[in-house]
């Protein structure tokens, strides 16, 4: 298993290299001058030019690329043009917030998606199936931004149960963290929960029709045991693959959710960096986020092999 993980890690290196190259290239290709953005609308060309020199943006692009990779080789992601701090430090301040939000949303996704998918499969073509699938459809169709707004109006303004926005770090107050992220996580989760419910339903239906399930039932096993031990464990194999993708989608969906609920995560940081053409922040931040997502997918691959003994990575 360790060998599988190691080989996967090695194969991630070219992925990260390509991502870094694409990010670097795209940022230089899109129009917009970081020096002009930072200098503000009242700046003269001389002031913008001076700032460009201060920020080393007057170097040829090739030189900037060489500098970038030299820095990467030394573990240095550079300094954010806007924040003035190191990109790594800035990312490490924000990434845990987004990961926390995404994991919280993942819990909601799994609870809602798996439960409604299983119920729908077990009660196929009944009102429960219809209700679960309608719920899934609503989850897929309603934009999380709109859902978030509705939740703020209901739970914060009218009922006063939850804060309308803001973020409480887990280390300061775990209960406050749970409360501050409850609405963002739920609104983020619902779309993915709908997706997961549909996949779970079809995967469960396929497994439930298998001969070994029929055999298990014929042996007199309880419904609970048949579903949880024999059906779900096998249905989980394709579901686990999807979970890796869901984590990626939750992290990218966090961009909108973070803005709506005023959460200081990576989404807000990167959006602002892109709009301000903060090249080092976008390059370094995206590289670190990609690294995290690659790790998640490697973990999923390994888990896949654990769940299904037939899978062998050569």
């Amino acid at each position: 298993m360790i060998g599988v993980a190691f080989r996967r890690l090695l194969s991630a290196i070219p992925v990260l290299f390509i991502v870094s190259l694409i990010t670097f290239g795209l940022m230089r290709l899109i129009p917009g001058d970081p020096a002009a953005a930072i200098a503000g609308s009242g700046a003269t060309p001389a002031e913008i030019e001076r700032l460009r020199r201060d920020l080393n943006l007057d170097q040829p692009v090739l030189m900037q690329l060489v500098d970038y990779y030299q820095g990467l080789a030394q573990g240095n992601l550079g300094r954010s043009l806007l924040l003035g701090t190191g990109v790594f430090a800035a990312t490490m301040e924000r990434l845990p917030v987004t990961i926390g939000l995404s994991l919280y949303a993942l819990v909601f996704t799994l609870l809602i998606g798996l439960a409604s998918g299983i119920i729908a499969a077990l009660r196929q073509n009944t009102w429960a199936d219809q209700a679960a699938m309608m719920f899934a459809m609503i989850g897929i169709s309603v934009p999380n931004f709109f859902l978030g707004l509705l939740m703020i109006i209901l739970f914060a303004v009218h009922l006063g149960w939850l804060p309308s926005g803001g973020y409480v770090p887990f280390s300061q107050d775990p209960m406050g963290w749970l409360q501050s992220l409850a609405m963002p996580a739920f609104s983020l989760a619902l779309l993915q929960a709908g997706l997961l419910a549909r996949i779970t339903r079809s995967s469960m239906l396929e497994v439930l029709r298998q001969d070994y399930i029929r055999t298990a039932k014929a042996k007199g096993l309880s419904q609970r045991k048949v579903v949880l031990k024999h059906a779900l464990s096998n249905a989980l194999i394709p579901i686990v693959t999807v979970v890796g993708i869901i984590v990626s989608l939750l992290m990218s969906g966090a961009v909108v959710t973070e803005a709506l609920f005023s959460i200081p995560g990576m989404g807000q940081l990167l959006t602002q960096a892109v709009l301000s053409r903060d090249y080092p922040m976008v390059q370094g931040g995206l590289l670190l986020v990609t690294t995290f997502l690659v790790m998640v997918n490697i973990a999923v691959d390994v888990l896949y092999a654990v769940l299904d003994p037939r899978v062998r990575y050569e």
Binding site: I30, P31, G32, D33, P34, A36, A37, I38, A39, G40, S41, G42, A43, T44, P45, A46, E47, I48, R50, L51, D54, S80, L82, L83, G84, T85, A90, E93, R94, L149, I152, I153, A156, V157, G160, P163, S164, G165, G166, Y167, A259, L260, F261, S262, I263, P264, G265, Q268, L269, Q272, L275, S276, R277
Partner: protein, 523 residues
């Protein structure tokens, strides 16, 4: 030493009023309490010397102070200086510092700190061109700071007191702090307690703050300032609906930029007070006079004659606007309506006649705008329709804001014909700061081959070099009239920004930054 007229005016405003006024200095009706303010834009750093963003200024100008600043009507006033004298030859400005000022770290402020602040600004300050004509500065004693000029500059005080990227006074030991890495220690009524970029900045009352006794009340960025509340937290809430929800629930006690769609329901809420901040920015389109057919004056006049400013401003601002001729806000002493006959003509017959005279042959006209600032996009949309109504083949080109700025700055660009923008800080700073947009070498001026209109340039030079304020104002009026008559710019009107507070928050008066001195929480 002989005072110049401007300096005397400043002295009168800064020092003469206490003797004339009878009112007692401001006292907090109640002390204590916490205010949470919902700010619309992110803050990257509180380094006021290297940031031009409004979001930084909102917070930093409650923490830092400057030698001179601006009053409620944006006129220069003294802040950390108790007096300023300009020499007769206009080559020296001598500032006597207010005694007893301490930094938030407890260190007494001296002229060495002022000199260190100027040194840092001159090294990395964003608008260090302010000091281009300064030969140097001296500190003859701990309470005196002298600025030596290379040559007389009648507008220097206007530039020095600018709040755009001000020369805030910092402790001398912070002189070498890197760009955006300035340790946040100032002399203002609030000190920084906590700053989490992207989330919030918490300020606490600075108990050792000594108000400026030259005034009785807060005025503009300065005046007699007292921190009444214990803490003020600026929370970043970028989504407008979330700011409104926070205000309704009481999670936020004050917010900026309330969307028009929420105003009706907020007005019905007795726990909330709506505070419109008029004259927030001037909505404007800039013609690309380097690019045919916009280089043709009759074509530009045709466009000017076709525009109905009420419709444009209504769409741009959801109804929160004031019609406004020219480049200054009506509440400013520098305001002039020179060129008013060119404004809001809205006459299609006249526009069509001018269009025929221009020889326009249905060439596609590109209106460059962006969606980052909805007022600019909406204004462009209506302008497009009004131009189409007279037979101009107008099309929108929508990009993001940084891209549109970069495109607009290319010399002799043929990619666009009208560029939509908004001017906020510069008009508030005065005519000089605004009209620099319309002469080279400013980034936003785009004459063919960068050759200025000589008459506009002459007026600009007069605005800078005339010795008296009256003569400079007359030059400004001339320049505005010429700019409007030659259609080098199309100002539409001024946008109102709406702020709101919980009704128990008292003393909050909308201004270019949310000021929390002389604000208290009614118990």
């Amino acid at each position: 030493m002989k005072h110049s007229r401007l300096a005397s005016t400043i002295l009168a405003m800064g020092l003469g009023l206490p003797g004339l006024a009878l009112a007692a200095p401001f006292e907090c009706p109640s002390r204590g309490g916490d205010i949470m303010f919902g700010q619309e834009a992110n803050v990257n750093s509180l380094d006021q010397m290297t940031s031009s963003t409004i979001s930084t200024r909102n917070i930093a100008m409650n923490i830092y102070e400057t030698l001179m600043t601006r009053d409620e009507n944006n006129r220069p006033i003294l802040e950390l200086a108790e007096s300023m004298e300009e020499s007769g030859d206009g080559l020296t400005y001598t500032f006597k510092l207010r005694p007893g000022i301490t930094f938030h770290n407890g260190k007494p402020m001296t002229s060495a700190d002022v000199a260190a602040s100027f040194n840092r600004y001159n090294r990395i300050g964003l608008q260090r061109s302010t000091l281009d004509n300064v030969a140097g500065w001296d500190t003859p004693d701990p309470m005196t700071f002298v600025i030596r000029m290379k040559q007389p500059q009648p507008t220097f005080i206007e530039a020095l007191s600018s709040f755009s990227v001000p020369i805030v006074v910092i402790p001398s030991e912070h002189e070498n702090d890197d760009r955006q890495q300035l340790r946040t220690v100032g002399t203002g009524p609030f000190r920084l307690m906590e700053f989490v970029p992207g989330s919030h900045a918490r300020l606490g009352r600075f108990d050792a703050y000594r108000p400026n006794t030259s005034f009785e009340q807060r005025t503009g960025f300065g005046g007699y300032r007292v921190a009444c509340v214990d803490t003020v937290t600026f929370r970043i809430v970028t989504e407008a609906s979330a700011r409104v929800a926070g205000l309704e629930t009481g999670a936020l006690q004050a917010v900026e930029d309330v969307p028009t769609r929420s105003l009706d329901s907020l007005r019905r809420n007795t726990a909330i007070t709506i505070l419109p901040l008029q004259n927030w920015w001037i909505q404007i389109a800039l013609p690309n006079t380097a690019n045919p057919p916009v280089n043709n004056l009759n074509f530009r006049r045709a466009v000017q004659a076709a525009l109905g400013m009420e419709d444009i401003m209504d769409a741009a601002t959801d109804g929160n606007f004031r019609l406004n001729v020219g480049f200054q806000f009506p509440n400013q002493p520098s305001y002039t309506d020179a060129g008013k006959e060119t404004y809001n003509i809205n006459d299609q017959a006249r526009a069509r006649a001018l269009l025929r005279e221009s020889g326009y042959r249905n060439e596609p006209i590109v209106i460059l705008t962006n969606r980052d600032y909805p007022p600019m996009y909406n204004a462009a949309l209506v302008m497009q329709q009004q131009m189409r109504a007279i037979g101009i083949n107008a099309n929108l080109r929508v990009v993001d804001w940084p891209t549109s700025v970069q495109m607009s700055q290319r010399v002799n660009s043929d990619e666009w014909h009208f560029f939509h923008s908004g001017w906020g800080t510069q008009p508030a700073l005065g005519a000089l700061a605004t009209m620099q947009f319309l002469v080279s070498p400013n980034a936003q001026y785009r004459p063919r081959d960068e050759v200025d209109d000589p008459e506009v340039l002459a007026a600009w030079n007069a605005m800078n070099n005339e010795r008296t304020a009256e003569a400079r104002q007359a030059a400004f009026a001339t320049m505005q009239r010429m700019i409007l008559e030659r259609v080098y710019a199309l100002p539409f009107g001024s946008l109102t920004k709406v702020q709101a507070v919980r009704s128990n928050v008292q003393g909050f008066v909308p201004f270019r930054i949310p000021r929390f001195s002389n604000v208290w929480v009614q118990r």
